[in-house]
């Protein structure tokens, strides 16, 4: 009749240690990636652009951890230096849309009216394009290059935040406590910043962590098909694009950048999951 301790344990909700473990794993991965991005020279012995005709297409070894590419460049060094570019793609590609989208969502949800109408129509139009096609179309107009990748991501990225925040604001603004501060004669700016923003920002923050992964992937995809960041810049997608032609004989050029990218992405996802859990329990 009395269940053992172990049996009881299994019935408990997601145990705290596991939640903390995944959050911690995520935090460690992300932190490490940030350190690598900031100080790539600490981790590498080779110049990522250094061509070596004597060491072409060598497999992974002690000297070249991830092997070398068709120019004899050290793939490990290229991946390490690429961290900076890809991480920045993810983070910068997310931060600006996050800010813009949240502001637009707040305003249009709160004031409704013309602004809201226009915003919704703009979103309808932009949503008619598949995400990547729209990004590519913008890249086509702007031309290749790093800054243009950012612009393309920014033009498209704010939509999710605006929709998310707007939806929450529409619900919240009819909540009693918001009505109460309205009746109390608080200024709109104060209601927006002090009362609405703190309540809608959490969902946007959680979404942003997954958006970082998505933007990193999109940036790399663009470079992979040759539209984004151009070689010889050591960007993960671009490295994999170069390795693609040698995939039969030199799989390492393609395998390792993708692996590193996946691990980084998992790091951000775990961090986001932990954050969501934390914000949920805090909210209660």
């Amino acid at each position: 009749m009395f269940k053992s301790k172990i049996k009881e344990r299994r019935l408990t909700k997601r145990p705290a240690w596991l939640r903390n473990l995944s959050f911690l794993t995520g935090a460690v991965i992300v932190l490490f990636a940030v350190v690598v991005a900031l100080f790539p020279q600490l981790f590498t012995s080779h110049d990522p652009l250094e061509v070596n005709a004597l060491a072409v297409l060598q497999g992974p070894s002690g000297a070249h951890l991830f092997g070398t590419d068709n120019y004899g460049r050290d793939v490990f060094s290229r991946v390490v230096w690429g961290t900076r570019i890809d991480l920045l793609l993810g983070v910068l590609g997310t931060v600006i849309p996050f800010v813009v989208g949240c502001i637009l969502g707040l305003l249009s949800g709160y004031f409704s009216g013309v602004l809201d109408n226009i915003l919704m129509r703009v979103i309808d139009i932009l949503m008619a394009f598949p995400f990547i096609v729209l990004v590519i179309a913008i890249m086509t107009v702007l031309g290749q290059g790093m800054i243009n990748v950012y612009i393309a991501l920014w033009v498209v990225g704010w939509i999710s935040y605006a929709k998310l925040v707007r939806g929450d604001v529409l619900v919240l603004k009819n909540a009693e406590y918001i009505q109460a501060v309205k009746i109390a004669g608080f200024k709109n700016s104060r209601i927006l910043l002090r009362h609405l923003l703190p309540n809608v920002i959490n969902a946007a923050v959680v979404f942003a962590t997954s958006d970082i992964v998505l933007n990193m992937l999109t940036g790399a995809s663009l470079s992979f098909i040759g539209l984004g960041i151009q070689p010889p810049t050591p960007e993960w997608g671009a490295i994999m694009n170069e390795g693609r032609g040698y995939i039969n004989i030199a799989w390492w050029i393609t395998l390792f950048p993708g692996l590193v990218m996946a691990v980084t992405g998992i790091g951000f996802s775990l961090l986001g999951d932990g954050l969501a859990d934390f914000l949920r329990t805090k909210g209660r």
């Binding site: 309808d124 598949p130 995400f131 096609v133 098909i225």
Partner: protein, 312 residues
């Protein structure tokens, strides 16, 4: 009758969106810096050649006139010739749209087959080992670049085991479907992961509702509880996500088709961009938008069948 009105209304709503989309695409490509004729012909072209190209592309006309010609072309399916392929654009589209649609459908099918059982299982075993494993796997699947997964699958199944074609396109439908297996898996990976999450969370939420217990209290088999009560309701929120993901995967074809050398409109888009065939790009982007709007329309109609609470 109500539903028919609703469908007609939804179709009519698409028209203004398409119009704005066409204007947007038209203007966007006019913003490309440099003379399009010169971009097409290259730096060495003579002035006369450029002038002739202007004539051919209709660039000497006013912007409004150009737009009108472009719009008329779309409406009458008279899309002109592709500069790169030297063939009527409409023929290209006819050959290639099917490939991309098939790829999107196969990917969707794969995602559904994978995500419903796994999402249901995870939701029913919330916070147990199976749930953790499924959720962690899904998390990893989302973080992996699709083109990279595609390349790995090509190495493993195409080069090591030699069981599946690594790319290209077959002549017969069975061959073609075989060619779509690896691209389909690649494309469906992220969608499956997102769907699993969504279904899992829906199942967890639905399980808290009394109608599931009430259904069980009737003594019906657990399978019927699962299908008629849990999954049926989980589908409602899933359909919306699925339509968004189908639109995304349609766009993802640009990358997947490039990796697997599939002759679809995705690969055609990159080819057109690199060969600076901008009128083809213009048409293709419009086609993508049209397909997304059709997917959304079909989703809304499906939704109205799934959820009786929808008001027409």
């Amino acid at each position: 009758m109500n539903r028919l009105n609703y469908i007609i209304k939804r179709i009519l709503q698409i028209i203004p969106v398409l119009l704005v989309v066409s204007i947007l695409i038209f203007l966007m490509l006019r913003f490309i810096p440099g003379d399009p004729a010169r971009l097409v012909l290259g730096e060495k072209a003579t002035n006369a050649e450029v002038a002739a190209m202007h004539e051919k592309l209709g660039l000497n006309k006013s912007l409004l006139e150009q737009y009108w010609i472009y719009l008329k072309g779309i409406l009458t399916l008279n899309l002109g010739d592709s500069l790169k392929y030297q063939r009527p654009v409409i023929d290209l589209l006819r050959e290639r749209t099917g490939v991309t649609l098939l790829l999107t459908l196969v990917s969707t099918l794969f995602s559904l087959i994978v995500s419903f059982p796994l999402g249901y299982f995870a939701g029913m075993h919330k916070d147990r080992l199976g749930d953790h494993v499924i959720r962690t796997t899904a998390l990893a699947a989302i973080a992996m670049p699709s083109f990279w997964v595609g390349l790995l699958l090509m190495i493993v199944f195409g080069l090591w085991f030699r069981v599946l074609p690594v790319g290209g396109w077959g002549a017969t439908l069975p061959d073609q479907l075989k060619c779509l297996i690896l691209p389909g898996i690649t494309q469906s990976l992220m969608t499956s992961a997102l769907l699993i999450r969504n279904i899992r969370n829906s199942v967890v939420e639905i399980n808290l509702l009394d109608y599931v217990d009430f259904a069980r209290s009737k003594g019906i088999p657990e399978g019927e509880v699962k299908n008629n009560h849990i999954l049926r309701n989980a589908m409602i929120s899933t359909v919306t996500l699925l339509s968004m993901r189908m639109a995304y995967m349609l766009g993802g074809s640009v990358i997947i088709e490039t990796v697997f050398s599939l002759p679809g409109i995705g690969a055609l888009t990159t080819e057109a961009i690199f060969s600076r065939d901008y009128s083809l790009v213009q048409t293709l982007v419009f086609l993508f938008a049209l397909l997304v709007l059709i997917i959304n329309l079909l989703t809304d109609i499906l939704y109205s069948f799934l959820d009786p609470r929808v008001e027409f």
